[in-house]
């Protein structure tokens, strides 16, 4: 048992104990969280209130190391496993730029009645938007967490986070036989979810699924909604994440060395104001910062954790993800997004489409083969003629070369939207693309 009462002291006590046992590299991570989950379907309503708390140690020297994690508060007398495997290195303490805790982190999590009211509000709005449509299921989670880190290299960090996640599944007026559509969305707190806006998105998807069809093959200008672009951006992660990214993108470059159209700027920013993962440091206590990975179509640098760029530490950023106390940190996107154009409204881009498609959402996962420069993504949306919807599209596959997609992005809008993908948050605005093809799915 620990002699100390505060977690701060308990964390440092464990660091000190293991350092005294001769381990030069020791890091202790503690996390506590609280969340409410409401699961709702026509038969049953389940309300869960979770209190989670746990801690983890990484310790080792140059030749061997171990990891130990346990529920409850940190304690210095835990039964450490025998060290094995590779040596362990930990990041040095670095100055953290000033940081103000966002006010909404302290907002209380949703009560049960509020959660039920939110879901029922979506259900009512859905029936208004598309009479006869109804929710088949909903899962709403609203939670907050606090974490602390201490290490033998002087890292001392505390951070808090707040997030809400909503999954909805709905069926149309024809009932379950016609299939269902699903929607996932996140916000910093569940009170940010807008029932009417969510119901409209579901109704659009249902209307498209019910009435849509796909041409065998077609081309044209394609306006990709954020939900579609986010999926592609996430699937193309290996192009801008990790030390191998530069080698992977080499084959995509044009004669001028651009890997994408001039409208493409990709940024990762763990400090992004208002972001779900907004934090002054990452899961290893390394300060977060905005990094421009692709700028005006040129790869500037890949997203690197501190240990992936030991000779050029200035290139690295705080991008170690550590979702829970059981997890080891691993590099990945924090808020990785395609930079929007603040002047371009989606309606402006849509109005400029003479003949093409507005792809609203995905109907499955992307299939990306970077080595063959190909991708395919099941999509749905609308056929567009002279800037107006001319029919619903469903059962189609957006396909083409990865390089054609990146070079074919000719304009981006301002409606930046994030989705939880690849373990982080991936964001994109609507984009106008040329050079891709739609094919009917079998």
């Amino acid at each position: 048992m620990s002699r100390h009462e505060t977690v701060d002291e308990q964390v440092l006590e464990v660091v000190g104990t293991l350092a005294a046992e001769g381990w030069p590299a020791v890091e202790v991570h503690w996390k506590r969280g609280r969340s409410r989950t409401l699961r709702y379907d026509p038969h049953h309503q389940v309300s869960c209130l979770r209190r989670e708390e746990g801690w983890a140690v990484r310790a080792g020297d140059e030749r061997r190391s171990f990891f130990f994690a346990a529920s409850g508060p940190p304690r210095p007398d835990a039964p450490w496993p025998a060290a094995d495997g590779g040596g362990l290195r930990l990041p040095p303490a670095q100055p953290v730029p000033s940081w103000t805790l966002p006010a909404d982190v302290d907002e209380p999590i949703l009560g049960e009645n509020e959660a039920v009211a939110l879901v029922r509000g979506i259900e009512r709005a859905l029936d208004t938007e598309l009479p006869g449509a109804r929710l088949l299921g909903a899962e709403l989670e609203d939670g907050s967490s606090e974490s602390q880190l201490g290490s033998s290299r002087g890292v001392r960090a505390r951070f808090r986070q707040r997030s809400a996640h909503l999954h909805l599944e709905a069926i149309g007026p024809d009932g379950p036989v016609a299939g269902s559509v699903a929607l996932e969305t996140v916000a910093r707190a569940a009170r940010r979810f807008h029932p009417v806006a969510l119901a409209r998105r579901l109704a659009d998807r249902l209307a498209v699924a019910l009435r849509g069809s796909s041409p065998p093959r077609d081309r044209g200008e394609l306006l990709l909604a954020p939900a579609v672009t986010c999926q592609l951006l996430a699937a193309l992660g290996p192009l801008w994440i990790g030390p191998e990214a530069e080698a992977r993108t080499a084959a995509l470059g044009d004669q001028g060395g651009r890997i994408a159209g001039g409208a493409v700027t990709v940024i990762d920013d763990g400090r992004m104001a208002g972001g779900i993962l907004e934090s002054p440091v990452d899961g290893e206590g390394v300060p977060t910062r905005p990094v421009r990975l692709v700028e005006a179509g040129r790869l500037r640098q890949p997203l690197l954790a501190w240990w992936q760029s030991p000779e050029e530490l200035h290139r690295a950023s705080g991008c170690s993800l550590r979702p829970g106390w059981r997890d080891l940190p691993r590099p990945g996107p924090t808020h990785l997004y395609l930079e929007p154009d603040g002047d371009a409204a989606v309606t402006d881009l849509l109005a400029g489409v003479a003949r093409g498609y507005y792809l609203l959402d995905v109907e499955g996962r992307p299939d990306v083969a970077l080595e063959r420069d190909r991708f395919a993504l099941p999509v749905c949306g609308f056929r567009i003629e002279r800037g107006r919807a001319a029919g619903a599209l469903s059962g189609a596959r957006l396909t083409g070369a990865v390089s054609a997609f990146l070079h074919g992005i000719v304009a981006v809008a301002r409606d930046l939207t994030f989705q939880p993908l690849s373990g982080g948050m991936i964001g994109a605005p609507s984009v106008l693309v040329r050079g891709l093809e739609l094919r009917r799915r079998n």
């Binding site: 699961r39 379907d41 038969h43 049953h44 309503q45 389940v46 309300s47 869960c48 209130l49 979770r50 209190r51 989670e52 708390e53 746990g54 990484r58 310790a59 080792g60 061997r64 190391s65 171990f66 990891f67 130990f68 994690a69 346990a70 529920s71 409850g72 039964p79 450490w80 496993p81 025998a82 060290a83 094995d84 495997g85 590779g86 040596g87 362990l88 290195r89 049960e112 088949l136 899962e139 069926i171 379950p176 036989v177 299939g179 269902s180 059981r326 080891l328 079998n442």
Partner: protein, 436 residues
């Protein structure tokens, strides 16, 4: 056993205070779990040990369930969880003598885990195979006990291993109840098979006969029978009782879920709600007999029987899921199954399957296979997917192998829960199925 010294009668008395109606379902779920992980040899940190314990209090009344869970096994957290589930401050406290589990033992010796990668390498060498392979080996142990207002179930214990092997051309995951030379040889055999098929081209879209090896057959039955017959899945299309008596599969198809006959290390006498585990005929002669059901669904039915409630952990409410599927063996030897499927595909392994509960559409994906020629598995084919509706696929079964094997065990992910599932099944022959 970690919970033997607990004040179970005190917990039951405290729980009884929040039960107001005879049909209320209330329980306390106590859980302790441990995972020991050996990563690939060049990875840091080396050995990884995760230990956790906690509890959940649940109350179901009418169409509502409340669950409060915590990561601390202490009286104060239990009382707090009770209050939150009851949604009221009690007039009296919930006195408890003891809610302190036995201390964790010293870190377990794990020689079988530490030596397994070398055993796989030896098995690969015996097969004249030499390629880079990164192995992650984990030992999973879990203890749990469910205490109701009147009864406390016995403490149940599960222990098994998971192995993930990655090569440049495949990622192979498997659950095992033992880590020995035979298990290492099984992992090596699959990796070598995948190596030989690594450059094979996928089969052209086609409809015809297929023979599924026991491992692939287990995935088919898990997706097309077990998931399709879970009470919560059935409820998406109507009342689960309505499925009873429906002819879903070929006439000779007897599919059972029986946690009591699972391998020793994962055998269960009660489910994760403390209800006695049943030998449950999901299909008898191809006809639905008893869908998978938990206490909440069983409460509203005279036909459905509880005993299949499973929880991935204390933080999630139980849901009806299978544990250990069995398919009664037929009479056909492997050669006879292949003989009746000339020109078709032999598919030994399925990597994953998906069932759309609303439409009944079903996809089963295979990483590789072989074309059946002259009653044997011939030239390799690349990745393939079998498509169809559940009833069509199950009606398409025309031959059942004579040798049932523990096979196809894996992680089942549904509704946010990830659970280990087991199966003892023979090979199957299907005719007229669509592969593309």
């Amino acid at each position: 056993m970690p919970f033997t010294d607990l004040d179970a009668p005190g917990i039951a008395r405290a729980l009884a205070q929040i039960v107001e109606r005879p049909e209320d379902v209330a329980d306390v779920f106590l859980e302790r779990r441990e995972e020991l992980e050996l990563p690939p040899e060049d990875a840091a940190p080396g050995v990884r040990l995760r230990r956790e314990e906690g509890l959940a209090v649940r109350l179901t009344r009418g169409r509502k369930t409340w669950l409060a869970s915590t990561d601390r096994l202490v009286a104060k957290d239990f009382q707090d969880a009770l209050r939150r589930v009851a949604r009221a401050q009690p007039r009296l406290g919930y006195p408890l003598k003891q809610l302190q589990p036995s201390p964790w033992p010293e870190p377990p010796a794990a020689e079988e885990v530490l030596s397994f990668p070398a055993a796989v390498r030896r098995a690969l060498r015996r097969r004249q195979a030499r390629f880079r392979c990164r192995l992650v080996v984990r030992r999973h142990r879990r203890w749990l006990q469910v205490i109701g207002p009147r009864l406390a179930s016995p403490v149940e214990r599960e222990a098994f291993y998971s192995v993930v092997a990655e090569t440049p051309w495949t990622r192979h995951g498997v659950l095992l109840t033992r880590l020995d030379d035979e298990a290492a040889d099984g992992v090596a055999r699959r990796l070598v098979r995948a190596y030989h098929c690594r450059d094979a081209t996928p089969p052209e879209p086609w409809r015809g006969p297929c023979v599924l090896g026991p491992s692939a057959a287990a995935v088919l039955l898990h997706e097309a029978v077990a998931h399709a017959l879970e009470a919560d899945t059935l409820a998406a299309g109507g009342h689960p009782e309505a499925a009873v008596g429906v002819a879903l599969g070929a006439a000779g198809l007897d599919v059972v879920d029986d946690p009591t006959s699972a391998p020793d290390a994962v055998r269960r006498t009660v489910d994760d709600e403390g209800m006695p585990a049943l030998r449950r005929h999901l299909l008898r002669g191809g006809v639905v007999e008893q869908p998978l059901c938990d206490a909440v669904w069983a409460r509203s039915s005279e036909v459905l029987a509880a005993g299949a409630g499973r929880r991935s952990d204390r933080h999630r409410p139980p849901a009806p899921r299978s544990t250990h599927l069995e398919l009664a063996p037929g009479e056909l030897a492997r050669e006879e199954l292949l003989a009746g499927a000339g020109g078709g595909l032999y598919l030994p392994v399925a990597e994953r399957g998906h069932l759309d509960p609303l439409s009944g559409r079903f996809v089963l994906r295979f990483p590789y296979g072989r074309r059946i020629r002259n009653q044997t598995a011939g030239e390799p084919v690349g990745p393939a997917a079998m498509h169809g509706r559940v009833a069509e696929l199950l009606q398409a079964i025309t031959g059942i192998g004579s040798e049932a094997r523990l096979a196809g065990a894996g992680w089942c992910a549904k509704g946010g829960m990830t659970l280990p599932v087991w199966a003892t099944v023979p090979a199957l022959r299907l005719e007229g199925v669509e592969v593309r």
